[in-house]
Symmetry: C2
Subunit: 512 residues, 2 copies
């Protein structure tokens, strides 16, 4: 007896909701582990998470789920709304990803990813790439095998990219990244040679942690973060996590001698959090309501961190609050001083500390290495030297050791290849979204200067957050901005902003 | 092909560990809900917990688990150690409890318990017992049906008691409680009529919450709580929870005008926590390592709260710390003043606020009502009047309304009948354990007076915590104290202590 389409769909919904709820539980466990768990609980927690992951894997590969999907995919789309079609499509994608991989390969990936992270921590500490090389080779090999299972028609590196930024391939990325390189490398050189550099000494001082926290909460609230459906805490590395759009948890860390680092981390994580809190209100335990991709997620954090919080109107509005919060400090600073101080361009060794001009080159370097590792043109052994040579060529600095070079990122140690491009795709999306927003809301920069941020959140909610997974990243960008991803928008923004900040070409930029 | 006994046992272990780990996850979710979760997350959290409970129920009733148990129970005990035998026995008990009940009854119990709590909250708020009566009848009926399924040979109330204090029946409890009644009622009357009452005004004042917290952590640490394997936080009602013996989480609440309430709640919860942290170090995800029963658990919290922290040597040691922590307050108090102030006997309406002398009568009242409800001699409609009459007879006070009478406890609203006796069994166990400890460690009261609490924890660890579920509560008490539960020990302790405190019978008590 076959069920009618509606009943079949309802059964699918129940299974997907169950899966989503258990994934939410895993999210809370992860947050707890980073923020609350006493150190002695680590071993038991790892086992608890493994048990729950096992349950989730069983649910994800349940043959009954596959049968329901097969039946629904035979239906003409007639009876289903676009959201329902999206749920079916996404569930099928997830099911295929989960079932096309043999269990032994899944186990090997889990095992070596976990072992890889242990080995990487030690190798980075001791600055010994040779210790890390064998496991990196193994992880690469596993991810090539994995790609052959899940997307046999794609190049293996494209298959890995697709997990993080679906539909995006090397064929699209390479020309974009080449264009960024050709423009950014000379720009960075020109900025470096410019004298005098803008001063950041006004940001030095002592900033009591309790006041930093108060300020962070205030600005997060101004951005529209709902503390009724979220929390803010402290962890070693800032992140945005939680278990549900009604329970979104961001973290930061505080340094008493620097309030900018922590505050901008909060703004960044609040950008991620607003995306989660802004997900469609219906069917929140179903895939159509989920956030779209890594790149789009990053576009939301960078939108707020860079396009908004590093803008002159934002600096103008918040400078008095900074001054009031940290009495003595920043007393004689002007809005322009602050704007310049939070927009320094300075080539540096570490990706996560990079500014918006140099950041893309850190990513392009990694992209080129990953691409070579997957197509066989680069050997693992050659990575340290290639890394250092590229750092020199792109940013004019050479890492003094591998800990500050090829060993700096966690990604490869867990087998996450193809993740890095999302960061720079996100930065470019953010810029393109911002340009579109200014077209839609011509007064928005005046509003920022008066602290009115609600229209920005409302625009992002409507244009991006509430769209869930209905469209691909490419479709969404086109729909929101009127054109596909266009690196010229990002390049023009960077060039105009930094030419003006650094007085590069008088007349080309415009002063605030 | 049948597996050999060792392989079969190993399969059982894997299934039990998996179950235990998921139960630990549920523990963390519960803690998070009470301590961390933003209010807006409540609905999603309820669904997440329901999904996880569903998984746990599937694992608990897995026919493969039943088959493994059947096979192992056919083995002669020969190949198994006592701990392994205990794991098999306990797993069988749990499996029977979970599988003997038809699924429809399980669903009804879950549904009505949840609805019952909603209705009870409202009924208590509006002081309307009549609104609560129908659901209470339904819950009683379900629990009678449940008892007929799981323990058809037991009286239904005995079956319900067994869940909380295994092996204990009305036949044992009734004579013990009658004896307590016959001694405590006249004692309480005599204490009430005594003049002057000891003063508690020295405990009044203002006590900054941050200092209370510091003090609470200090004393919890002195007792031996490991903050490396646990946490202390704030919640509406104090509790001890967490996810594992290596991740034990206690909570309290602070009132700025009273530090004793919060501090003694911390001591109470630390007593529970030490039991969890003291569980056998091996096989911690298996039933043999679990805490034994509600009554024994309560004996551990009350041991610290009453036998230790309400003792004169404890007051003598900690008074200077209290004085130093809260500057002005307690300045002129002596150790005797403090000892008297934390040991007032005062009949009151609310069980959770009762002192150690009147508390048993709150329990006996509930026990007698539950017993009558189960054997049919009491009707739900008659509960409020019976409650009030018994309060008058036992404690000499009559509740002015049902909110402060029959509606005060949460237990019945969730269908937890047979739970109440554990509290007073626990108090009597605690007293009997204490007497045994003093025999084993003759210097212990001198050590308490110098703040040396480690020998106490070590004694409890060895005698009780490390025994897990190897013995029944009755066996454990006999093994540790040399005799079965004997209410005379408790009565003698109470009579001697309070006669002295209240100068009842000069010569009978002894002054500190």
């Amino acid at each position: 007896m076959t069920l009618d389409a509606r009943t079949t769909y309802q059964r699918l919904v129940e299974k997907l909701e169950d899966k989503s709820r258990l994934a939410g539980v895993l999210g809370i466990l992860h947050w707890d582990q980073e923020v609350m768990m006493p150190p002695g609980g680590a071993e038991a927690r790892a086992k608890q998470m493994a048990s729950l992951s096992g349950v989730l894997h069983e649910k994800a590969t349940d043959p009954q789920l596959g049968a329901l999907l097969d039946q629904l995919l035979q239906e003409k789309p007639g009876p289903f709304t676009p959201v329902e079609q999206c749920n079916i499509r996404e569930a099928k994608r997830d099911y295929d990803l989960d079932t096309r991989v043999p269990k032994t390969l899944v186990q090997e990936m889990t095992e070596f990813a976990s072992r890889g992270q242990q080995i990487w921590i030690q190798a980075r500490k001791e600055n010994r790439f040779a210790d890390f090389a064998p496991i990196l080779k193994k992880l690469l090999d596993l991810k090539k095998q994995w790609a052959a299972c899940v997307y046999p028609d794609l190049a293996p590196y494209d298959a890995n990219i697709d997990v993080f930024e679906r539909g995006v391939t090397m064929a699209q990325i390479t020309p974009i990244f080449d264009r960024l390189k050709s423009e950014l490398i000379p720009l960075i050189r020109a900025l470096r040679d410019q004298n005098p550099h803008p001063a950041s000494s006004l940001l030095e001082g002592e900033f009591p942690v309790s006041r930093q926290e108060e300020l962070a909460r205030q600005i997060s609230r101004d951005m529209g973060f709902s503390f009724d459906q979220g929390r803010m805490d402290v962890s070693v590395h800032p992140f945005c996590g939680g278990g549900h759009p009604t329970d979104v948890r961001i973290t930061t860390r505080y340094r008493p001698d620097d309030f900018i680092e922590s505050l901008y981390a909060v703004i960044h994580e609040t950008g991620h959090a607003l995306y989660e809190q802004g997900r469609p209100p219906d069917g929140r335990d179903l895939p159509a309501s989920e956030t779209l991709s890594m790149g789009i997620h990053e576009s939301q954090s960078l939108f707020w961190e860079r396009m908004i919080a590093q803008s002159r109107p934002f600096c103008a509005h918040y400078l008095p609050l900074f001054q009031a919060t940290f009495n003595g400090n920043l007393k004689n600073a002007t809005a322009d001083d602050l704007y310049r101080a939070v927009n320094l361009c300075q080539p540096s060794l570490i990706r996560v500390e990079a500014d918006e001009v140099t950041y893309p080159l850190h990513i392009i370097l990694r992209y080129e290495l990953e691409k070579g590792l997957f197509d066989g043109s680069i050997e693992v052994e050659d990575l340290p030297e290639l890394w250092n040579r590229k750092m020199d060529a792109y940013l004019g600095i050479r890492p003094p050791d591998d800990a500050r070079g090829v060993l700096q990122d966690i990604h490869w140690s867990g087998g996450s290849f193809g993740y890095f491009p999302s960061y720079t795709l996100g930065a470019m999306y953010a810029c393109q979204f911002y340009q579109a927003m200014v077209r839609d809301l011509p007064d928005v920069e005046t509003q920022i200067a008066t602290g009115e941020l609600a229209p920005i959140k409302a625009w992002l909610n409507e244009k991006i957050h509430s769209q869930g997974k209905l469209f691909s990243p490419q479709e969404l960008v086109t729909q929101v901005t009127g054109q596909p991803l266009n690196p010229d928008i990002f390049l023009q923004y960077i060039k105009e902003k930094y030419s003006a900040l650094y007085h590069l070409q008088r007349g080309a930029g415009h002063h605030g």
